[in-house]
Structures are given as structure tokens and as C-alpha cells.
Amino acid sequence: MTRAGKATAARPLAGEPRAGGLASLRAALSAEWTKLTTLPGTGWLLLALVVATAGLSVLADAATSCSSGSCQADPARVSLTGIYLGQAIVVSFAVAAMTSEYSTGMIRVTFAAMPRRTAVLAAKAAVVTGPVVAAGAVAVLGSVLAGRLILPGHGFTAARGYLPLDLADEPVLRAAAGSVLYLALVGLLSLGVAALVRDTALAAGLVLGLLYIVPIVAAVLGSSQLARHLQQLAPMTAGLAIQATTSLRSQPISPWAGIGVLAAWAAAALATGGIRVRRRDA
């Protein structure tokens, strides 16, 4: 926007993007954190995350049994089954954090108070990820503990070569920490999609569809080529490869590469969401 031939000289723009960037990010973080902590539903959602994840993991542990011979299941993966349900709660949480501003019209207040929209999106991302990681860590720890206690009684005995789950084992630690990272990335993916489509139901449906449906379709698609590629590229199947501690070679993708794929999805969602947030009218 140029101003042609006005008498008054314009002041030098105060707060050049880089100089004031950090301060405005800090303020945005403070504001977004306040928003989160002053909503009564937040605490319940995080509690639900822990309960649902640990609960489903316990169910999976209790239902596993080894037929005679070798156990075909991966103990760490079984004990972390709850992530399938926990991620749905993370999606709900992250989507609502963004879309509730649009549905109430508060987004204009937010952007009037903090015109640097990218900073606001970054602050929202940080403020959503923090609690997800914290609650997710509790949930994962609970799940691993449950697996440690329950699985040996269901056939995962030392005689078959399975030691009780121990976080000191590098693969188990990777599976557990990776699961927490997985939840955080799902949250970021949800936030990006929410910023892109701005409607709660649509965003939740899109993300959940992307997560849940692809593996179902891949599991029953006949062609191994197509199914395999799908599982390598889909956010959930790739991301959950981090949980594998046995038979790594038969996984569609290696653990860290899988998390990388999910991270790429989250980054793409946030980038497109961020572009939309910046360019479009509030």
C-alpha cells in the first residue's frame, strides 16, 4: 500500500519484524497460555487423554496371549496400543483450540491485539503441544508400566526371551518417547488443518479420516505394492512405526523415518494453515 505525495513524512516503522519479533512472540505465548488455562474444558480433555490411552493399553495387554511357540506380538507395541484412542482426543483438543476462535468471532479480537499472525499461530502451536506432551508422557508411562506388570502373565515370559518392559532398554525407550512425540505431531497436524479450514467439524473429520481410514483401506487393499506405499506415506501408519521394537524389517518403514513422515505432514499442514491465516481476512 503506497501513499502518493502526502505532506507528512511517515515515521519509520516501529517494530521491524525481526527486532520486535521475539517480544511479540513472548506476549503471544503469554496470551495464548492464558486462553488455554482459563477454559474449564482443558483440564478434563487432558485427563481424558491419559485415561483413554492408559485404559486401552491395559485392555490390549489383558487381551494378548501367546499361542504355543513364539509370541507373534511386539510387547512394547501392544502396551502402547492406547495411542490409537489418545490421538483422537489430541485431535479434538488441537482443532478446537484454533476453530473456537473462528466460531465465536474472537479471531478478530486476537488479531487486533496481535497483528503478527504467524507469531500467534506459533504461540498456539507451542501452547497446544506443551500440555499434549505432558499428558501424553503420563499416559505413555502409565501404559508402559501396565505392560510391564501385565504382559509377563500373558505369555511374554523370560522363557520365551521376553524381559519385562523396561525404559532402560533403548528400543522400549524409543517406542515410549516416540509415542509422546507422535501425539505432539498429531496435535500440530490438527492445528494446521484447523487453521486451514476454520470449521471444527470439518477439521476434525479431515484429520481423523486421514489418520484412521488410510490404514484400514491399506490393510484390505489387495495389491501389496499400493498397500505398502500407502503405509509408508500415511501419517498414522508411518508415525506409529516408532513403536516397533521387534521384527523391524517387516515394518513398512523404519521408526525414525516414519516419525519424519508424520513430521512432514504436520509441517505441511501448519505451513498451508499459516499461509491462509496470513493472507485471508480474519
Binding site: 501513499r3 511517515a10 506476549a27 495464548e32
Partner: protein
């Protein structure tokens, strides 16, 4: 130019097929309340959103103190705004709503409590915003606008839904804010609300500025200032007054309506010529009439005027 000046130049914006802003240009100076008036759909809210950097204009510029809104470091400390009082999360308390806003500008709880007192929300501050009445939501919006003690205030239809007591309070409040040296821009589509409050008026219609004057000047320029005269000698009265330069129209059986001459002059003229009359009253143009006349052509949405139909 003072830091507290809003300067809008040549804004143009289209929403699909509708041209909302068509070269909107004006200036708002501090120390007075500026009324931003126009019919529905004239582009008032859109202009405010463009100034706040919420909507992007296709052409033109909007500057505050010579700077763009996006470049302001803590915008709410320079420009306070109230666009939509209902833009609240229903399950959050009023105090917490102000709290997150305050923190976004690096302010703290103390300031929140101050504005709560200023807006008269002490009783309701701890309640969820979803249960607020219309008037309380407006007060909350005002409180939010004042958080940063800004030098510029932009309020979009703040009188909406206020009861008479609230309107009186609001008028006094706005005047006092302006008296403190702030620039206050208040939009409305009802002239009666701004009567006695706004010293300067910007009248818009169809995305453009129609008039940009001080209130007295507008009143003076309006074709008002009629004098109503009751007399049986209508013919002679008409002759006398017309010769003196006024224009006279009949207003009934024994009544005349005179423009162009003030009441005292008419009394002098008629008495001097011995024309009897029984009643004379000066009729000042109201802001409402002035405004209606100006915007007659610019009204976007017009309901069928039943009275006009009946008169024909």
C-alpha cells in the same frame, strides 16, 4: 501530525460482487469525538477492519500516527477497538477474557482490574461471558478497548442494545475520553445516538465519504431552519416575506412555512407591515434530518415507505 491521528486514503475493497469500499478517505483528529455515520452497508465496519489490519484492502492506505497497524508493537496500547461485543468464548469469565488480552500486550492483572472498574463491571467480572446481557457485553468490549490506555479508540456501533441509562453513560464517557486528548471514532447508523456527543461527523454511503464536517457546520448547511407561522392573512404575509428574501410555502389552511429568514426578522417584518399572526416558532433542523437528506441517495437497503405511498 499527532500520533493519535487516523488517516485513511483511497481505500477500495470488494467482497465478491459487492463493492464495499470505493475510495474511502478521511482523517480523524484527537481531542474530539468523531461520528462515523452511514446507512447499513455503507462500509463503516469494513473500514474499521481495514484500519485494524484484519481485512486487506485492494487499494489505498490506512495509517495511525503515520504508521500501519501491523507495525505497531503493542497495538492495543495505541489503538483500542470494539468491533463485535459478542466475540467472546462463552465459557470463559469476563475477567479472564480481559486477562489474556492484557497479557498479549505485556500488561498485568492490575490493569485488568482498573478497566473493570472503569466500565462498571465489578459485579459481573467473575461470571462466564456466555451469560452476559447485551449491555454487559458492550461494557466488556469497552473495557477491552481501554486496556492499553490507547490514544486512539474505534468503536463500531457501541450504542447497540444499550438501555437509556447506558446510552447516557456511554455519551459522557466518550466525551471525557476525547477531552483527554484521544481520537475517538464512533460509528453508528442512528443519528440520534450521536447527537450531542460527536463534534465532528464523517458521513459515508456506498463505500464513499459523503460529508466530512463539524456538526454545527452540517446543521447550518442543512436545509432546515424553518419557521412555522400561523396567520389568517396568508397572502399578505407571503408577499412581505418573499420580498424580504425568504421562501414561503403553505403548510395548511392558515399556516405558512418560511425558510431563509430567522424568526426575529420575520416578526419585525410582519409587525412593520401590520400583518397579523398568531403563532411563530423556529424549527431547527435536527441532525437526523440533515443526515437523511444527505444520504437519501446512498441508502442501500430501503424498506417500502408506506407513509410516502399513502401521501401520493
Amino acid at each position: 501530525m499527532s500520533e493519535a491521528t487516523i488517516e485513511v486514503t483511497g481505500l477500495r475493497k470488494r467482497f465478491g460482487p459487492v463493492l464495499a469500499l470505493d475510495g474511502m478517505s478521511f482523517m480523524v483528529t484527537p481531542g474530539q469525538v468523531t461520528g462515523f455515520i452511514g446507512p447499513n452497508g455503507a462500509g463503516k465496519s469494513t473500514t474499521m477492519r481495514v484500519i485494524l489490519g484484519l481485512d486487506a484492502a485492494e487499494a489505498g492506505s490506512a495509517l495511525i500516527g503515520g504508521r500501519r497497524y501491523q507495525s505497531l508493537r503493542h497495538p492495543l496500547t495505541e489503538v483500542g477497538s470494539l468491533l463485535d461485543a459478542a466475540a467472546l468464548q462463552p465459557s470463559r469469565t469476563a475477567r479472564n477474557h480481559l486477562l489474556w488480552l492484557a497479557r498479549s500486550q505485556g500488561l498485568g492483572r492490575r490493569r485488568v482490574d482498573e478497566v473493570i472498574g472503569q466500565a462498571g463491571l465489578e459485579q459481573a467480572a467473575g461470571r462466564k461471558a456466555g451469560g452476559f446481557s447485551l449491555g454487559m457485553r458492550q461494557r466488556l468490549g469497552i473495557a477491552a478497548a481501554l486496556l492499553g490506555e490507547p490514544r486512539v479508540l474505534m468503536l463500531d456501533e457501541p450504542f447497540n442494545g444499550m438501555d437509556p441509562e447506558g446510552i447516557v453513560w456511554m455519551r459522557g464517557f466518550l466525551r471525557s475520553l476525547a477531552a483527554q486528548g484521544r481520537a475517538v471514532l464512533v460509528s453508528s447508523h442512528l443519528m440520534s445516538e450521536l447527537q450531542g456527543t460527536a463534534e465532528h461527523l464523517i458521513i459515508v454511503g456506498r463505500g464513499q465519504v459523503i460529508a466530512d464536517t463539524s456538526t454545527p457546520a452540517l446543521l447550518a448547511a442543512a436545509s432546515g431552519d424553518r419557521v412555522s407561522l400561523r396567520t389568517t392573512a396568508t397572502a399578505s404575509a407571503t408577499a412581505v416575506l418573499t420580498e424580504a428574501g425568504g421562501s414561503v410555502t403553505s403548510a395548511g389552511l392558515a399556516a405558512l412555512s418560511v425558510t431563509g429568514l430567522d424568526a426575529e426578522k420575520i416578526v419585525t417584518l410582519l409587525s412593520g407591515q401590520g400583518v397579523p399572526f398568531s403563532e411563530i416558532s423556529a424549527h431547527r433542523a435536527s441532525l437526523e434530518e440533515a443526515y437523511l437528506e444527505l444520504t437519501r441517495d446512498a441508502v442501500e437497503y430501503r424498506a417500502a415507505d408506506a407513509a410516502e405511498e399513502a401521501r401520493r
